[in-house]
């Protein structure tokens, strides 16, 4: 039987299943929200952005994801980048864009 390449293999363990679920979840969020600037984030995410501790938690989420699994880390990195850049653009005065 042909097996997946090593970097795509999640193996059959519980950890592997959780990694696969995290990858699918992050992929869906990226396609649904992150890649569309017009698609608004939830009010909680918008309101929390102005707090530095929230942004630190977001970066720590990225860090822990990357340490846990490179595949999850890369997708979460995309998520975090789109979220931070979108919110940064939204709070920038129109004249400065």
């Amino acid at each position: 039987m042909r097996s997946w390449p090593s970097f795509l293999s999640f193996q059959g363990t519980t950890d592997g299943v959780f990694r696969a679920v995290a990858v699918i979840l992050a992929g869906v969020i990226i396609v649904r929200y992150s890649t569309l600037f017009e698609e608004e984030y939830s009010k909680k995410l918008t309101a929390l952005y102005i707090h530095p501790w929230w942004r630190i938690l977001v970066v720590l989420l990225l860090l822990s994801s990357a340490i846990w699994c490179p595949r999850v880390g890369i997708l979460v990195a995309l998520l975090v980048f789109f979220y931070l850049s979108d919110m940064n653009t939204l709070i920038t005065p129109f004249s400065d864009l």
């Binding site: 530095p52 942004r55 630190i56 970066v59 720590l60 990225l62 860090l63 990357a66 340490i67 490179p70 880390g73 890369i74 990195a77 975090v80 980048f81 931070l84 850049s85 940064n88 653009t89 709070i91 920038t92 005065p93 129109f94 004249s95 400065d96 864009l97």
Partner: protein, 146 residues
């Protein structure tokens, strides 16, 4: 009582775990670099536009990509990922066009342009706009017909 036997240090599981954690930790310099990166990402929105414009130039981009590559090669891909995100967030906020001389309204030759006289409007002060000319100060309206 014979006390000449060598004393064996007993260590619990927690101490072993802490020792293992301390042995596998990155060097202080690397950790400081990581903390600085996190702060750079968190406060990327307040970086002055001059730095952003430089990072978005040809030299800045080449330097940025070189730094990311160097970090990946020396400190590992996790630090490289953080560096790449910080770099992207910096150039993302760079001003693409010079808006200092750009007006939103263009008279187009058919409308007489007027110079700015007096104080700024409230919305101009809030948004930090510095208009140099006004295309028109009159609006033609018509009654709604039902």
């Amino acid at each position: 009582m014979n006390t000449s036997q060598p004393q064996q240090q007993q260590q619990g599981g927690v101490i072993n775990s802490i020792n293992l954690f301390m042995m596998n930790m990155d060097s202080p310099a690397t950790l400081i670099y990581g903390v600085l990166l996190i702060l750079l990402i968190v406060y990327s929105s307040i970086i002055p536009s001059e730095y952003r414009t430089f990072a978005d130039s040809l030299l800045g981009r080449v330097l940025g990509i070189g730094i990311v590559y160097g970090v990946v090669e020396t400190l590992g891909w996790v630090y490289g990922l953080l560096t790449a995100i910080a770099f992207l967030l910096i150039i993302n906020g760079a001003t693409r066009i010079d808006t200092s001389m750009l007006e939103a309204f263009d008279g187009g030759g058919t409308v007489s342009e007027k110079k700015i006289i007096g104080k700024k409007w409230f919305v101009e002060r809030v948004l930090g706009e510095n208009p140099t000319k006004i295309a028109t100060d009159r609006v033609t309206t018509t009654a709604v017909e039902t």
